[in-house]
Symmetry: C2
Subunit: 314 residues, 2 copies
């Protein structure tokens, strides 16, 4: 019997997604279990295997790929530390899964698996040079050069969240000023928007909130922008400007054919995308900017699990 | 007879360097002719071949590589435009040289050949991921990923001169603000330094110049810094800060094992390097910055010709 399918596991902080994926990155079968962050890592891995072996196409699976947030030694398949799973410290994930399943196992961080997911789902494996930017609580990135995952000298290539885009800008938790994360990371954006609306009362926000304004999450900021709030639009415009400056640096430096935006904030793309695009057009080298499609992933929630499955191919 | 040597040609605006190079990037034999920018491209190429065939080791040459400033279609070996050689427009350099020599010929722009030169001369071919930054009138760059030249989707990867490092900074000739070139490009630096010394008289400069201050070239700025001038030191310190911000972006994004600085301004490294280093240490991801050696090329004048010779290997 031919074994030409790949098992992908996306270890999230609330849910663990599991999928069987074809060599072209298409999901054939999928399932999920909720994440018990208090459980021992081995118990969780045992539960994942128990669920996986019951998948109809399990017998055709060739190898396993796992994506997880945090500091991962992908060469040896060890999870050094994961912010979502505080009990996971120096866990030999590859070794454990290989013992439990007798299948070759690959492990990488979630920014890299997301970029492989974007490569297979959003470009159908056609891109040669793709940069995937995850816009969430932080800002992450994964690089695919010549159709292969590029991780750099010590495995941190694409860790773009603390790239300086304004050397004298906002103070970042990392100690510096003007990291891209301080402008578009969800936490910073909420803080900024909340302060902004403390100073500027919004009639639209007044209509939907009948007491003290809550924390202005990106989700709420999208909602009031959709109702026409000019302050919310202004804030999204600033997000677009800063992301545009950032992406112009990426385009000039690495001349990719595709940039894929994904993660929670990417759902608000319609509010920041026009400004983002115009900023890139102004700031990036013309031929490089012409050669680069900037898209919002249509598969944000599937990127991790598909990319994890495809790890052995890259 | 074994043919295992490479011919490199570095087409400069004043001089054309020609060298025979071993497979390890070592120069075996070299010569040069001065550049007649008024001559027809074919005449110049004929002169290059005439000189080359007289080299002792010419018969052992396997292939030819040419580096030239400007817009080069490296795939087809066509020089679309070269700022140093105004008569060179859409010249089929590869075709012409192959016809004249009957040897396979490769052509690329000078930033890429410099990076290959740095790879072979400064790291002896040992680096895996190297970024070469040329600090001259402009700021150029070449990228070597996984020991291969990386040129991106449309061949402009590494064209770093117009990367924004301060979005609200100095106005650049390209129309934007805060490109790295506006802070460290030789022309901008001279302008800035000249203005600076118009406002601040320097006792040291007064001693060596007994009339109106001339244009403060980087060379002069180095000289007065070497004599202890505090203003000159201050300006070099700013150069170090800006280059440090820029390189921290490069380190965070691409996690190289080596960054090589070359070009005219790199000779003044001792005046700007300490600040550059401290800025990178502050701003770059710790493990990425630890993994990256930043060095000043010891072979600035040889990089182009050696890198050109090595083109066929990459």
């Amino acid at each position: 019997m031919s074994r030409d399918l790949y098992l992908g596991i996306d270890m999230g902080g609330t849910q663990i997604k599991i999928a069987v994926v074809t060599p072209k990155g298409i999901i054939k079968e999928e399932t999920a279990i909720s994440t018990d962050i208090k459980a021992k890592p081995f118990t969780i891995l045992k539960a994942i295997v128990d669920v996986s072996v019951r998948l109809k196409s399990y017998s055709k699976i060739k190898s396993i790929g796992v994506g997880i947030a945090g500091d991962v030694d992908s060469k040896n398949g060890i999870v050094r530390f994961s912010p979502n799973l505080p009990k996971w410290k120096n866990i030999e994930l590859k070794k454990i899964l290989e013992k439990l399943t007798n299948k070759k196992t690959f492990v990488d961080n979630d920014a890299n698996t997301a970029s492989l997911g974007a490569f297979w789902l959003d470009t159908k494996g056609k891109s040669n040079n793709l940069i995937c930017i995850t816009l969430g609580t932080g800002v992450g990135g994964g690089l695919i050069f010549n159709k292969s995952l590029y991780v750099g000298a010590s495995g941190t290539a694409g860790e773009v969240g603390h790239i300086t885009i304004d050397p004298y800008g906002r103070k970042c938790n990392c100690g510096n000023r003007g990291c891209i994360e301080t402008f578009v990371g969800a936490k910073y954006l909420s803080e900024y928007a909340s302060k902004y609306f403390k100073k500027n009362r919004s009639h639209i926000l007044d209509k939907i909130i009948n007491k003290e304004y809550p924390l202005i999450t990106p989700h709420l900021l999208s909602k009031i922008a959709s109702l026409g709030d000019k302050y919310a639009k202004e804030i999204w415009n600033i997000v677009g400007e800063k992301l545009g400056i950032f992406l112009s640096i990426v385009v000039n430096f690495s001349n990719p054919d595709t940039i894929v935006l994904c993660g929670g904030l990417s759902h608000a793309a319609k509010y920041f995308f026009p400004r983002l695009k115009s900023e890139v057009n102004i700031r990036a080298f013309r031929s490089a900017s012409k050669a680069c499609k900037i898209i919002v992933s249509k598969y944000t929630h599937k990127l991790g699990v598909v990319g994890a499955a495809m790890l052995p191919k890259h």
